[in-house]
Each structure stands twice: as structure tokens, then as C-alpha cells.
Assembly symmetry: C2
Homo-oligomer: 145 residues x 2
């Protein structure tokens, strides 16, 4: 009797896994370069882009980026020094400081977002059905805990 086990060494799967690693490295690097073109570090760009979606208390920024809250102080300090972000008081709780992008900060965030063409270009060559299939595949990858 033959027992079917998952073949972890399926060559095609391994090739895809390696390609995913390569895409991640490429994307990450392109993101750093795009940030640098805007005079930002990667971490600063990530925080600014996050706040451009929605202003957030310091602690919640840390939760989203999965790092310690103490790190956010310095990153927001540097964004604030460049007048891209402001610390605003929270009406309900005087301990809380809400970080929000300035108008200039919002502009930089938009420009940064628009400059991330890397991932967009290859998608142009796909049919709608292919993009749908890719979307579902990626959703599975993000959703898997």
C-alpha cells in the first residue's frame, strides 16, 4: 500500500519558491531606492506611507510595522524635522500623540507611491483572468498564518 506524502522537493515548487525570494529581494531594494530618491530611508518611507492612509497614534504605528514603540519616536522625529509629519494631540487622551502627514508629507507619499512602477509593469502583460488568478494566489499567501 502506497502512502502519499507531500513532496517538498518538487522541482517546480522549489523554482517558484526561489523566484519569490528573488522578487522579494528585488522589490525591497527598489523600495529603498525609491525612498532614497525622496531623501527618505526605507523605514521613514514606510511610516509616511502608512500615515498617508490614516493618521495614527505612535503605538499603533509600531504595531503595524511590528517593531518596538521606542523606535517610532526617532523615525517620526526625523520626519517631523523635515516637516513631512506632525504630532497632534488626541482629544480624548492627553497621553496619546497622533502622527499625521503635513500637506508636503502627503505630496511626498503620493510621489513615492507613483514611483513604485516596478511591480506594476509586468502586470500589464497579463490578461484579466491571469491577474485574477494571481490576486487569489497572493491573497492566500498573505492570509496564511
Amino acid at each position: 500500500m502506497t502512502v502519499t506524502r507531500p513532496r517538498r522537493t518538487d522541482p517546480l515548487t522549489l523554482e517558484v519558491v526561489e523566484l519569490i525570494g528573488a522578487v522579494v529581494a528585488r522589490y525591497y531594494q527598489e523600495y529603498e531606492e525609491a525612498a532614497a530618491r525622496h531623501g527618505l530611508t526605507g523605514a521613514q518611507a514606510r511610516v509616511l506611507s502608512l500615515l498617508a492612509l490614516e493618521p495614527l497614534p505612535m503605538r499603533q504605528i509600531a504595531q503595524r510595522l511590528k517593531c518596538e514603540p521606542s523606535n517610532i519616536t526617532g523615525i517620526v522625529d526625523r520626519l517631523e524635522a523635515r516637516q513631512l509629519v506632525e504630532r497632534q494631540p488626541s482629544p480624548g487622551d492627553r497621553r496619546v500623540k497622533v502622527a499625521a502627514p503635513t500637506e508636503e508629507g502627503a505630496r511626498v507619499a503620493r510621489s513615492l507611491r507613483d514611483s513604485l512602477d516596478f511591480a506594476r509593469e509586468p502586470l500589464a502583460g497579463l490578461s484579466r483572468d491571469e491577474r485574477l488568478a494571481l490576486r487569489d494566489m497572493l491573497k492566500t499567501m498573505v492570509g496564511a498564518e
Copy 2:
């Protein structure tokens, strides 16, 4: 007369682009955690994994990782202090130092590689044709200059 231009704001494409960003963030973080479980930083894990494929001179490590050669000195120092990597002389050129994994380093590199199940799992749910399509798509993304 209507001119057809690429629609950069196609909602499906934007969704896929955002998903790619999410996958990259997820993968990157999982890699850091896998490295940490082996007592390594992300950079150390990347260098060790690279050397496990093939020993390389210091300068070539920097080229592969797209960083300055001076950074590699410290990373290899720390890997060498833990006896995961050795600096070996190059027969032809006495200026060159070839970094090569020790036996223990090779073991750690294999263990690290095996622990990167994150990307592999969701692929199991795909048909062979889907995986082929995904492979071609990823190849396009990596290959695009």
C-alpha cells in the same frame, strides 16, 4: 478618435500591486524571524546562504547583496566569530580572501533554508498549470530591468 492609453489606475492591477507589497513585507519579516531562530541577523543569514551555494571573495559578496564591500567585513567577521564561515586565501591573488562556510555553517544554511516554509505552503494548493503560470509571471518581474 479615441486614443487608448495604459490605465495606471485599473483597480485590479492596483489591488495586485498592493498584495505584492504585502507579500514582500510578510516574506521579509518571516525571513528575519527564521534567521533569528538560528541566532543570525537577516544580513548574516543572507550572506551565509549565499556562501552555502558557492564560496565567494569579499567583494563579490558585496556585489551580490548590492552593498558596499566595507560592510561585508563586519558581517563575515561576526559569522567567522561563530565559526560558521572561514576566510580562505585565494591561490591566484594574494589580495583576495574567499569566504566559505564551515561544516557547521553549511548545516545552519540548510536548516535555515528548510525553515522557509512560508512561501511553499500556499503553492501546494495550486495546480501544475497554475504554478507554471506563476513561475512565468515571477520570472518577468525578476527579469525586468
